[in-house]
Symmetry: C2
Subunit: 342 residues, 2 copies
Amino acid sequence: MGVSLKDIAARAGVSLSTVSNVVNGYRPVGEETRQRVQSAIDELGYAPNLSARHLRLGRSGIIALAIPEFDNPYFAELAGAAIREAAGLGYTLVMEDTAGAYEREVLMIDNSRRQIFDGLIFSPVAVSREEVLASPPTTPMVLIGEGVYDVPHDHIAIDNIAASHVAVQHLVSLDRYRIAFIGAQAGDHRQSAHLRLRGYREALAGAGLPWDPALAAPTTAFGRADGLLAMRDLLARTQPPDAVFAYNDLVAIGAIRAVVEAGLRIPDDVAVIGIDDIEDGRFSNPTLTTIAPDKEHIGRLAVRRLVARIEGTPVGPPYDVQPPFRLVTRESTLGGRRPIRA
Amino acid sequence: MGVSLKDIAARAGVSLSTVSNVVNGYRPVGEETRQRVQSAIDELGYAPNLSARHLRLGRSGIIALAIPEFDNPYFAELAGAAIREAAGLGYTLVMEDTAGAYEREVLMIDNSRRQIFDGLIFSPVAVSREEVLASPPTTPMVLIGEGVYDVPHDHIAIDNIAASHVAVQHLVSLDRYRIAFIGAQAGDHRQSAHLRLRGYREALAGAGLPWDPALAAPTTAFGRADGLLAMRDLLARTQPPDAVFAYNDLVAIGAIRAVVEAGLRIPDDVAVIGIDDIEDGRFSNPTLTTIAPDKEHIGRLAVRRLVARIEGTPVGPPYDVQPPFRLVTRESTLGGRRPIRA
DNA sequence: GACCGGCTGTATAACGTTATAGAGCCCGAC
DNA sequence: GTCGGGCTCTATAACGTTATACAGCCGGTC
């Protein structure tokens, strides 16, 4: 083991309590003793045992952020905002990757992991609403993204349907008639994919465009490779699309690559739009038009709500928040080449 | 607080010890009692308090990975490998972002954070060798990347100089004569930037090419935006480069964008190579030639070494490992357009 | 001179867990 | 009939910390 309070106390010839008071200033200590204790601390290199402190105090000062796609920049960017907010509130934020795997997600909502952290911000993909409901209510949990609604937890997620409307309407405004959607469907667990598909269909209907199932390309996951394969498929059709609404920016970037490989022009032959506004799309060729959720807002708000729950600040009942989003137009739908403002 | 052993014991009418034995099977328990205890656990929803267990056992089963650029996919991809290896060894890996900030990095090497985790994998950027040396040797620490050598810790980092040689030699083999380097220098803390610059200069000399300071473009950081700005600068010279070796793939992607914006062709007018082999470069337009460190190897090895130290497995003295890397040629130096195998 | 209050320090109980020592019981062997 | 030993289970001490209760001392006030 490392150096403990006891070692310091012995070295300085004082009691445990006095050392503790020097360390965290709960009660005043005489100047002379304080210095003797402090030099003992410096010499022996003492640092408090966080587990013991956690056990005693009931709080560790650490909150966790569990995300399903560690390699999706969207979450990295969101995490950045969360980390800053947490630091400002005196908490450390650590991240855990569930990889969207069911067993890993279950570890989040049963108590095995939550016992060591003061709270959890969780982006569930594989677990169901019922499982979240059945989880024991110990440490506070805030849910972000996806479609786990009507549970006794704060929940922050953009309005997927409204966002999809804006995306599709933008493509319609460019006089596109054969608008495809790329993203998983059918048996997929991911609620947001279903919601975005629904928004896409509604928007098509609203614009008086027909619903063509051949233009809804399924994917097995939501990365660049999935977008690439799906787009190749769409381009091989006898009547290829003249625009694509991708489930997210990664998928869109894969789709762009497929279009370029096919020797077609963007947006002239095919316009592309995604969702997320990850940095990749700001530097891609062409740059990517996208729906930008306010990641800063989401990250900060999630932490604020969680900390409020942890500290018992009165914040009212759990609620659903739909953070703002906006359409960011770039070369993949507008054409031309405009220098990036960096 | 949550449900504790005591609650279960009371409910099942047995002692604390018996419940503990049911939970972790340290000693056998009679079948009838075991069932009574088990149903009490299920009913009350018990999960062990990890802090208490950590305090008692001296281990928490959690290791941390502290990285300087959470938004660089390189680390996300490396973390993926580390997470898998850790899971296989019975550990959970959580990630912490230092943002390369000095104060945050100091928190890693003094003991404040290490007390709650069994060990730390740390990619230092801002702290010096002396500070690492002065840190109290409590929980094991494995260092990855950068140039903190000759410290009593395992250290895993590619041979930056050798990697730079390979990169530059590849450009030379394409008959490029004005090869630029983009990456911070001078007062920068980042050792790897200095090493790569040195490798670049050595390789130029080896190829009989002159060293032109005007072709070494400094950056303030190492992201896409930095590559973009530096490349714009280089292209504005009276004698622009015909090839660019970028500090990493993100910088290279920014550089590519600058070349495209300028209306020049890649690789015809300017060839581009990076280091890291992040997924972005596999899907960019054009796709990016790069030096690919074996991230899987690095991530897994770091975890294996750390766990060996934690568990006291005899593994010999701390050592420096240089993981393998290889040149991956793509469109940004080879030209043409080759479909991605996805 | 007795008492009060402030200041400085100490002893101790608890947080939830697990390893150790040991208690009670029953069965078989001498 | 006693002893040894296996089988269950229990009581307890510790891990390192902090909050509570308390003890001693000094100076000032009635």
